[in-house]
Amino acid sequence: MKLRRDVFQAISDPTRRTIITLVAASAMTPTAIAENFDYSRQTISKHIQILTECELLKQEQKGREIYYHLNPNGMKDIADFIEPFRKLWDDRFDKLEAVMKNHRSKS
């Protein structure tokens, strides 16, 4: 359960949530990430460090730069990322099915 608590801690902060969504779109250097915020580089580095420790972000060295991306540990993380979107459609389609069953019984 330790990991789960850590992940919750990691996502409890709005800045860290924004970082996750930024790097989910494409791998980014710490500088590129920091450009999206008004905070100091140091503050952003600290957030990146926490996210990395919780295994939500992964480092990759490309030449002289370090890039961060969502941890592609299997496809599980991506699946977790998509899950709320999937759930939204699942609920919507359940509703469609219910509405149409009701519509059929009326006609």
Partner: protein, 154 residues
């Protein structure tokens, strides 16, 4: 348990594929997409306009307590009854941009049908914007839930 609705979002692509099987005859599934009153019921939005035909268009709007919360519109490129709808979709005032949607309706049995929606975004980034909407909402919910649990533990 196998999920009823599947989302296929391959890495480094700018498209999504949503599939779902329904316990509905194909005619009813298609009807759910072609009649305003029915769309209003299952989408939970007001249908301002719907011309469900080739070169038609549509507009949705959702209000909550008198404020417009959600506005979306699109043009309908092609409609083949009980088979196919090709249309665009765009949520107004959102960074997602316009998306192209191919809706494919398939008969499985007399009482079962399948819907496949292929959605193409302007770029992978636009797709990520779309995916992160409910993701962020979900994270906020998870966080609130956690806070609730922690408060109760005190």
């Amino acid at each position: 348990m196998q999920h009823k609705t599947k989302i296929d979002a391959k890495k480094d692509k700018q498209e999504l594929i949503i599939t779902r099987e329904f316990n509905l005859p194909i005619e009813l599934l298609f009807k759910a997409y072609s009649e305003s009153e029915l769309i209003e019921q299952w989408m939970g939005t007001k249908v301002i306009k719907l011309e469900n035909r080739d070169h038609g268009s549509y507009q949705f709007e959702t209000s909550h307590e008198g404020n417009v919360m959600f506005k979306a519109n699109g043009t309908i490129h092609k409609v083949v009854p009980n088979q196919e709808i090709v249309r665009t979709f765009e949520m107004e005032n959102m960074p997602i941009g316009v998306q192209l949607e191919f809706l494919n309706f398939e008969k499985i049995t007399n009482d079962k049908s399948k819907l496949t929606i292929q959605i193409i975004y302007k770029s992978e980034k636009h797709r990520a914007e779309q995916l992160k909407l409910p993701f962020e909402y979900g994270l906020n919910m998870a966080h609130e839930k956690l806070e609730e649990i922690l408060i109760n533990l005190k």
